[in-house]
């Protein structure tokens, strides 16, 4: 009951003219950047974070909410019209959506993706509003040892569980954790792994790392690739509106996709991809037009798109209530909070209730804006897709370095951008996942803090880590997440896992 009042209050804040303007700027920038091929939501958010540096926290986070949702809308446009998914969660959308576009049904495909994203975003954001207070209560009952177990689980699911190689996932995670150690230890003031370099004492910026890995690494990989990828933009012919049959075939997949995607995103496990794959196979099993699957079935666009957006909204549940980022995008959003000295978690709901609820309310606003903006403006977004690669990547690197310089105008920071960019290229070349590095960097220090707090309370007795039932359950889930893929691979089901491997973000 309280939730309604808080949400209404948040809406009151979000609907103020200035805040509406910030949301509008956010969704426009988010869509424009998200639509560019090769840019997923994580990079969209990382590139646009510096734009928000000089605003106050509320305005900045409202703009951020718009960027987050806008980036995802943009990504689905790219995958339908270009068949090169800007983000791994859009792979499934590309399967059917691009086939639809090839048959001249690009308009309805974009429409069902947009309306499905809207429906899913609406339901999932309301779900977020109602689940969060419960999660906060749960979170307040957790001790440091439980938090540590939760973070271990997040590490495992982000890095090892659904990738096609636990070795490579864990290696990526270890690199992130190592980078997280660099700098001054918060509890003792001890400098660690700084090698006497003053610039390293403040630690490594999450945005610098993310932009380097995603933008610089990607640019190097694409430039160096010997195979010129054949890319054809499908023109949007005819009406963008859906006919009666399209509506009849879309609304159930939207709802099912939402129901599948939201819980998966809300769990402290990584990745929107799993939800989209599950939704796709559900629709394939339930459809009355099985012959159309693989040739442009509208259900195959409607369901996964809804699942994708619902799980992206779900990701905000662990992020806001537990301070636990479960995707690269969420990790960068956490960095966005930290730049204002805000630490997401149960205490944020108590100390900054107004801010949290205007953020949640502005997600609703951003969602509506995207629906109104995007379908009429689709012609404009299509033109963005047609930017030739040299200009596209020159522009991406320009903005990538702009953000880095804006955060810290020093050649040293640019040097780190270069070094991590080369690292990002190496990770891509040898098929290591990127997200665990980013999540490890930001979550590693938080996990260490909880571990040391737990051990300080128990005066060094390590058995405190497995004293509570919550912690034991979390460790068991983490163990399953590592062992189940091994078991499946031994049973010859490795193909499924390889398909589910998320190597973009």
């Amino acid at each position: 009951m309280d939730t309604f009042a808080l949400l209404a209050h948040g809406l009151g804040g979000a609907l103020q003219p200035m805040n509406l303007l910030y949301a509008l700027i956010g969704v426009t920038l988010g869509t424009a950047v998200g639509v560019l091929p090769g840019i997923g939501p994580a990079l969209t958010v990382a590139l646009l974070l510096p734009v928000t540096y000089r605003f106050d926290p509320t305005a900045s986070l409202i703009m951020f909410a718009g960027i987050y949702y806008g980036g995802m809308y943009g990504g689905s446009t790219t995958s339908i019209l270009l068949n090169t998914p800007g983000e791994s969660a859009s792979i499934v959308t590309a399967l059917e959506g691009n086939k639809m576009a090839k048959k001249g049904r690009g308009g309805p495909a974009l429409a069902t993706a947009a309306i499905g994203s809207f429906v899913a975003g609406l339901i999932a954001t309301i779900g977020l509003a109602f689940i969060s207070p419960w999660m906060v209560k749960f979170a307040l009952s957790l001790g440091p040892a439980d938090y540590f177990a939760l973070m271990v689980l997040a590490f495992i699911t982000v890095s090892a569980a659904f990738g096609d190689s636990a070795l490579r996932g864990l290696t990526a995670l270890a690199l992130g954790l190592t980078l997280g150690l660099v700098g001054i230890d918060l509890q003792t003031g001890q400098a660690r792994l700084a090698f006497g370099i003053p610039d390293l004492l403040d630690g490594i910026e999450v945005t610098t790392l993310a932009v380097a890995l995603f933008a610089v690494g990607e640019a190097l990989k694409v430039a160096g690739s010997p195979t010129e990828a054949e890319e054809r933009i499908e023109p949007v012919k005819g009406s963008v509106w859906m006919n009666r049959e399209d509506w009849a075939r879309s609304w159930k997949p939207w709802l099912r996709g939402t129901l599948i995607g939201f819980p998966i995103g809300a769990m402290p496990a990584g990745g929107a991809e799993i939800g989209t794959f599950l939704s796709y196979s559900t629709e394939k099993a339930l459809t009355r037009h099985p012959e159309e699957f693989g040739n442009g079935a509208i259900e195959g666009v409607a369901g996964p798109e809804a699942a994708n957006n619902a799980s992206a909204a779900g990701t905000l549940v662990p992020l806001l209530t537990l301070g636990l980022p479960t995707s690269a995008t969420a990790a960068i959003m956490l960095a966005g909070f930290q730049q204002f000295g805000l630490q997401p978690g149960p205490l944020l709901f108590a100390a900054n209730a107004t801010l949290v609820w205007s953020l949640i309310a502005s997600l609703l606003v951003a969602n509506l804006m995207l629906l109104v903006l995007n379908l009429p403006l689709v012609g404009l977004w299509v033109r963005l897709l047609a930017i030739p690669k040299p200009w596209l990547y020159a522009g991406i690197l320009l903005f990538a370095t702009l953000g880095t310089i804006g955060a810290n105008p020093s050649p040293f920071e640019l040097g780190m951008l270069l070094v991590f960019g080369i690292l990002g290229y190496g990770l891509r070349r040898y098929h290591y996942p990127i997200a665990p590095v980013v999540v490890g960097l930001i979550l590693g220090p938080l996990a260490e803090q909880q571990l040391r707090r737990a051990l300080a309370i128990s005066q060094g007795d390590a058995s405190v880590l497995v004293h509570s039932p919550v912690a034991i359950i979390l460790y068991l889930i983490a163990a399953t997440a590592i062992l189940l893929p091994v078991y499946l691979r031994l049973r010859g089901r490795g193909q499924v896992l390889a398909q589910m491997a998320a190597d973009e973000d």
Partner: protein, 159 residues
């Protein structure tokens, strides 16, 4: 090279990455041991996590050595170094010239070099375009959004 890796020949890349991880583990271990007062006043202190991580990295290094002799890393493309070097050169030039020449010139060079890396060759054309574009962006971001972007001779002309 994407040549198939025969079971007899270990995957060189996996061996090298494993070696890199082992070196990283050793560096963390030595650097942490050299930390003043590490491990003296508390059993769990600032040195704990680095030691644990150093062990974890060492394990991963062993994992890579094992993988190198078994199935190796996934097949990879033979990337062309030329285009990548243009981009790296652009980034290096930008970081060297940022302070002396300002944001616009340094970033304009990066822009032109990246385009060159992607096959648009005429530097005499792309450098002025890049510098002009960067100057517009400097005006927006340093002027309106108050980001601190280093100013050089070009930027001073406009102020």
């Amino acid at each position: 090279m994407s040549a198939p890796i025969t079971p007899r020949r270990p995957d060189r890349a996996a061996l090298l990455i494993g070696l890199g991880l082992a070196v990283l583990a050793a560096v963390i271990f030595l650097e942490t041991r050299a930390m003043p007062g590490s491990g003296q006043y508390a059993r769990v202190g600032p040195a704990t996590a680095p030691y644990v991580l150093s062990g974890f990295l060492a394990l991963l290094a062993v994992g890579h050595f094992v993988a190198a002799f078994r199935h190796g890393l996934p097949p990879r493309e033979a990337d062309r170094p030329g285009p990548m070097l243009w981009i790296v050169a652009g980034l290096v030039l930008q970081l060297l010239l940022l302070r002396p020449l300002g944001f616009s010139i340094a970033t304009g060079l990066l822009f032109a070099f990246t385009a060159k890396g992607f096959g648009r060759g005429q530097l005499w054309l792309t450098i002025p375009v890049g510098v002009a574009l960067s100057l517009v962006i400097w005006l927006i971001f340093a002027g309106l959004l108050k980001l601190s972007l280093p100013a050089g001779p070009l930027e001073h002309l406009l102020r």
